[in-house]
Symmetry: C2
Subunit: 147 residues, 2 copies
DNA sequence: ACGTATCGTCAAGCAACTTGACTACATGGA
DNA sequence: TCCATGTAGTCAAGTTGCTTGACGATACGT
């Protein structure tokens, strides 16, 4: 009764979306492994994304919320964890007595610096595999399709 | 005291990994929107991935587990939901009295068919934007970097 | 001066997993 | 043939990473 409907479904695997997800997941696995090897295993977890959005001057928690696209309560919980681990600190915003600035502590800065190194390594491996030119046009295509 | 360490951190945004994630997320958002427009809003949630892994003949729950890379208990919970919504059915495996085969019901088959249509539409839009050739070489690069 | 919006916080709830424990059946030797 | 060991599915409970709701304190336009 369902048998006849079951026939000739196209393969589900041969499309850009699947390829994008596959490589994105692979890239993240490589990045996480590199970070874990440098002692920043926590970067693989949710609070790693917070650090990834912080800039040298620090950001208010609400700016962080806007940048990350998740709820302010979620951001707060993640920042709570990072504060407990001394990766970031919360300082009062001098321009807004309601606000607090989330700033990187040395541990967090080290993680970002190591992160950039790991990213460069992965990028170098990719360039070695398909050539710098093809990698550049991959990047260009990804940019042109975004937005 | 942290000020001096804060200086000259490289930008965090200019690397393949970030571009891959950005476009992968965007692709998924487009796919989910297309599916929601066709009445398959549930495909955006976790149980959508289960349907995405099913093949015409059906799969045993353990095969599904292996294919999806999550725990068998997680698969079971997701299949429970799909059964309740009459998207799939669980039938006994004739070759293994312990096993059960998860098979698509018409609702699920329709979702897969519509899904393929949505994917083709997205792919067509992408080809229109950067040209069929660049899209083909994007796919090729994604394939060559995987694995 | 006042109504309204925003910033951070506390609390509770939900989705999508996980690990642990268990029963029914399968399988490959002794 | 019996038995040890392994696998398929299930039930229960716990964890993670979010969510929505409610709140006091502060900011800001009129």
């Amino acid at each position: 009764m369902v048998k006849q409907l079951d026939d000739k479904l196209p393969p589900l695997i041969d499309h850009v979306g699947w390829r994008l997800w596959r490589l994105a997941r692979q890239w993240k696995a490589e990045f996480d492994a590199g970070m874990a090897a440098r002692g920043h295993g926590w970067m693989a977890e949710a609070r790693g994304a917070v650090v990834g959005h912080l800039r040298p001057g620090g950001l208010s928690q609400s700016a962080l919320t806007a940048a990350m696209g998740i709820s302010k309560q979620a951001v707060q919980q993640l920042v709570d964890e990072l504060v407990a681990e001394q990766i970031v600190e919360r300082v009062p915003d001098p321009d807004d007595k309601r606000g607090k600035i989330v700033r990187l502590l040395p541990k967090g800065i080290k993680a970002i610096a190591d992160g950039n190194e790991v990213k460069r390594e992965i990028e170098a491996r990719y360039a070695e595999r398909i050539g710098a030119e093809r990698l550049a046009s991959l990047n260009a295509a990804l940019d042109d399709l975004a937005g």
